[in-house]
Amino acid sequence: MKKLKIQDYILIGIYTAIYFLVVCIAMILLQFTIPGYSSIFIPALTALFAGIVYLLVVNRIPRFGAITIMGSVMGIFFLISGHFPLSFLPNIICAVLADLLQNKTAISMKLRTSVSYIIFSFGLIGPVLPLWFMKNAYIDSLVARGKDTAYIDGVFAHITTGSFIASFLAIIMFSMVGIMIGQKLYLKHFSKVKGKGHGKNAHQV
């Protein structure tokens, strides 16, 4: 196994920054379009747009470790900048899984990349998780003030489970579409560019 070099680490950092820019854009787009607790769709929308970034990471640094590092760095960055403290663990776990699938298995390249991208996209699930705790907190606060919670519990059970399922399905669908868009963009813009990890397998993505 070839080891990662300093330049690879720096390249990963740059791609992570671009990925994070995509997250920010998705966040802003959502805030303008969906009012209320819009962050449950951040992972899905990011997945729709970030396919090309992921493809470039996979192609430029085709070694085990790149995706793991990307996910971990995202997790730590989120943790420190406090956007979504809970996104720390999901980011790392999903990144390791995606990395294992991408670089340690021998399924066909295209399928492998698509599935590992879907897994990687679940790393951003952090913003969705607080919803669960928010619901608990809400029911707590109602109980504390002697309200009848049966009705509320029923309503919110539907709303929260519903939005979890909606969010999960959206992630899967959008990341499939996202990786397809990414492949198109890759062929359009990057297949002729010479660079590291390029050459004979550039067209196989």
Partner: protein, 229 residues
């Protein structure tokens, strides 16, 4: 006057706030924790910022209090859910804001190094911190170039054609990423990033009295709060 906290104790505060989000808290305890964070802002010399957060907290409490009698209405209960939910989210936002202010990126990196984070994570993280402002700058330049060529002149156009937006903004940045990485690697190697020995930092990272105090207050508050409940 302001007291300087170590990045590690700030990280502790952020983690503490995240744990708070996951626990069942009684209302008085919640007030106590938010007030605690407010005092941290005071000590840190951010009176204004702290006051804004504190006022937002009380506004959320007040809004919830007024809506509560009509909670049987689905839409109003959704609104009150947002009030309570965002109120619970507030401590994490406050903690992060407290953590980021008055601590330089280099201090954070030095602290993370001291915490024994592997080299493989430190380098990309440093790049991320350093490179992200550049990305924002690139983003702005690309936006003005797009406007100049008559593509998506208003922000509304950006929203209407999200895929076009993405292609036109992300692809140029990705194209230049390769070159940027070469430049950065050269600069970093010249500064001795490949040195296998121990790296030093200008910033002295040391836990002082106030850090020990802060961490122990946080731990005691957490345990004491749980026990009282």
């Amino acid at each position: 006057m302001r007291i300087k906290f170590d990045p590690r104790s700030k990280l502790c505060t952020i983690l503490f706030a995240s744990v708070l989000l996951m626990l069942h808290l009684s209302f008085p305890l919640e007030i106590f924790f938010v007030t605690l964070l407010f005092f941290l802002f005071l000590l840190n010399g951010d009176l204004k910022k702290g006051l804004i957060y504190y006022i937002i907290f009380w506004l959320l409490v007040l809004g919830d209090y007024f809506i509560l009698p009509y909670v049987q209405n689905t839409w109003l209960s959704l609104l009150s859910f947002l009030f309570v939910g965002n109120r619970r989210l507030l401590p994490t936002i406050m903690a992060a804001s407290f953590g980021m202010s008055h601590t330089k990126i280099s201090e954070w990196i030095a602290a993370l190094k001291k915490m024994g984070l592997p080299f493989a994570i430190i380098i990309p993280l440093t790049v991320l911190f350093r490179f992200f402002p550049t990305v924002i700058q690139d983003f702005k330049s690309i936006r003005s170039a797009m406007k100049y060529r008559g593509i998506a002149v208003t922000t509304l156009d950006l929203l209407i054609h999200p895929l076009q937006t993405m292609e036109y903004i992300i692809i140029p940045i990705l194209m230049s990423a390769e070159n940027t990485s070469l430049d950065l690697s050269a600069a970093a190697l010249v500064r001795g990033i490949a040195n296998p020995g121990k790296h030093t930092s200008v910033y002295e990272i040391k836990l002082r009295v106030q850090d020990y105090l802060l961490i122990s207050v946080l731990i005691f508050a957490l345990i004491g709060g749980r026990w009282l409940q």
